[in-house]
């Protein structure tokens, strides 16, 4: 029996960003072969061009208000996905900008670096758009595999390769756990499609089905690993410290945001029926993450580790938005992710500014007296720290404001109090660095190795952090409207704005 395969191709223009990026990766990897060793930064610049195209394309689709479901429900092209796609592209563009100077310093100036970074981007983009367990799993693995590789990119540095190994082993372990949860979910509902699972759960009252709760716990464990929530966070400080700094910067924002996107899709669409259960677990994870992240950050001497713990705490803050479970709450997740991109990438970029051949510049003491040498750099750092600590008038303040306001509105006053107290603690360790920069005398000569692109990227991040604090309105609007496609499925009534 001869059958012809009719591969159903939808209108591909809706996934043009992904297509452009895929084509671009292949092109970049090929062209890389013909670029001499000392000119590899051209590969980076070429990647930037491709990312710009991707961004424009996503932006166009976003503005057009696309809301499609493609490939038989495998993929959604909606505001939610496109919002995250744009965030990811910005993240990667900034990452490339801060890598251009770093790679030659560590003698890892390889074209493949950019190629793999683009693969990770592709994974994240698909992840945010996936509406099927299979696509989510595959894109998550595409992203993770790329990052395992990037974490170990400085092969000659034992720390870097150690970070890669730790991340790889734990990542594979956690994705096995996640996968088990997905398998149980599939068995319970007979489909891997998120909306399909959601409607099956709604039709057959499975909200107290033990297997469903088991699946939910396994899924939480898998995602909590990716977003670095306590107690699934243990890898974070080690991996962040060991990985090449631009990769750390990238890891601390990109994959985290992608994991939040997929988490929201799964938990709000597929298993919203067991919401009371996962809500209380997320409550606990949020409290633990904020508290342990902030408290342990105080004891750190390495800036990279300190920022790693601070990023754990930030995952806790973002979880508050999900726990709150109202429209502001969900929108605040999107908003916070955006703000977090700029402030956290910015803070990590400062480390690159101090990185030289002789030292990595990632200790807090390396920053002693920076304000005397370069007040601009110190001021930039202060902006990032103020934002991370949630002090007005920075983006971090607006983000936290929305998150806590959502919690209060949803009557999670206790959670809000814990969050506010935690952000009070956090300023303490951020300001240790500020004190070192402003108050203490310079121990010796301090060399800043500036690179025009790095300086440009830093300027962009500072301005973005401030802008988000001073004029956040349009971005809040965007977050609100991007969240809209998911709200009806999550059972939240979108009120009028």
């Amino acid at each position: 029996m001869v059958q012809t395969l009719n591969i159903p191709l939808p209108d591909l223009s809706a996934i043009a960003p992904e297509l452009i990026l895929t084509a671009w990766v292949c092109g970049v990897l090929l062209i890389d072969l013909f670029i001499p060793k000392d000119r590899k930064h051209y590969v980076g610049i070429l990647s930037l061009v491709g990312l710009t195209l991707t961004f424009l394309c996503s932006g166009y689709l976003y503005l057009r208000g696309e809301n499609l479901s493609l490939f038989g429900g495998m993929l959604a092209v909606d505001g939610f996905a496109l919002y995250f796609k744009m965030v990811f592209v910005v993240v990667v563009m900034l990452t490339i900008a801060i890598s251009l100077r770093y790679l030659p310093l560590e003698e890892i100036n390889l074209g493949e670096y950019y190629g793999i970074l683009l693969f990770a981007t592709l994974g994240m983009m698909v992840m945010a758009a996936s509406t099927d367990l299979i696509t989510i799993y595959l894109s998550l693995e595409l992203m993770s595999l790329s990052i395992y590789i990037l974490a170990g990119f400085i092969k000659k540095d034992p720390k870097s390769i150690e970070a890669a190994l730790k991340y790889f082993l734990l990542g594979a372990f956690s994705s096995g756990i996640l996968l088990y949860g997905m398998a149980l979910l599939y068995g319970l509902s007979g489909t891997t499609n998120l909306s399909g699972i959601g409607s099956y759960f709604a039709q057959h009252d499975l909200s107290h089905e033990p297997t469903a709760i088991l699946a939910m716990i396994l899924l939480i464990a898998g995602f909590a690993f990716k977003i670095a929530a306590v107690p699934f966070h243990m890898w974070v400080p080690d991996v962040y410290e060991g990985a090449p700094t631009p990769v750390t910067a990238f890891m601390s924002v990109g994959p985290k945001a992608a994991a939040f996107a997929a988490l929201m899709r799964i938990f709000l669409v597929a298993i919203v029926a067991v919401r009371p259960h996962w809500n209380s677990i997320f409550w606990g994870l949020a409290v633990l993450s904020m508290t342990i992240g902030n408290v342990v950050a105080i004891a750190q001497t390495s800036l990279k580790r300190m920022l790693a713990y601070s990023s754990i705490a930030h995952a806790g803050y973002v979880l508050i938005g999900i726990v709150a479970g109202n429209q502001i709450g969900y929108a605040s997740v999107l908003l916070y992710v955006l703000v977090y991109v700029f402030m956290n990438l910015g803070a990590f970029s400062m480390i690159i500014l101090l990185c030289t051949k002789s030292g990595r510049g990632d200790q807090i003491k390396d920053f002693t007296g920076l304000a005397r040498v370069n007040p601009w750099a110190a001021a930039a750092f202060v902006v990032f720290f103020l934002s991370l600590a949630g002090i007005p008038p920075t983006g971090g303040f607006v983000g936290k404001l929305y998150i806590f306001a959502a919690a209060i509105q949803a009557n999670y006053v206790g959670l809000a109090i814990i969050g506010v107290l935690n952000s009070a603690i956090s300023l303490y360790y951020y300001f240790r660095v500020v004190m070192a920069m402003y108050m203490e005398e310079l121990p010796g000569p301090l060399h800043l190795s500036t690179h025009p692109v790095l300086v440009f990227a830093l300027t962009v991040m500072v301005l973005a952090t401030l802008f988000l604090g001073l004029y956040p309105g349009p971005f809040i609007d965007a977050a609100m409207s991007s969240m809209a496609p998911l709200l009806p499925k999550a059972g939240v009534l979108a009120s009028h704005f």
Binding site: L110, F119, L138, K155, S189, H204
Partner: protein
Amino acid sequence: MDLGFFLLFAGLAVFSALMVVTQKDVVHSALFLVSTLFWVASLYVLLQAEFLAAVQVLVYAGAIMVLILFTVLLIQMEEVQKTNPWHRQWPLALLLGPFLLLEIVLIVRRGLFPFQLGEFTSDKLAAVGNTEAFGQILFTRYFFPFEVASVLLLAAMIGAIVLAKKELGK
């Protein structure tokens, strides 16, 4: 009849899996893993997933295990063999693991799993043939994930080369 085969294959698979974990020598572990994979593949046949059984043997037991064995041989293991193979935390892991397993076993026993929601009943599968039905669905409904998987393999390949190759000219 089926149950007999199931018990046989499952028993062998679990035994091999236990040996993978308990064998001191990496090569022995690897060989037992091949055995586990093979018995699991046999179970796939029982479950009317012949194509997967073939893939399991060819890709898993064949390709992946060869990769692992190559690595083992590439790395001089003498020194590794001498040390204690067990992590210090083994008592706790051994305590928690069976407990969690027991919980999972008891939970899934009561699971309300639906029955025959899809179209590929045993009879239909027998008529069409597993491989054909599989191929059909893989390239239609699951076309997009298939493409993602291909990109994933490309990324993994490039990454593995970058990480594993020796620095040239040094």
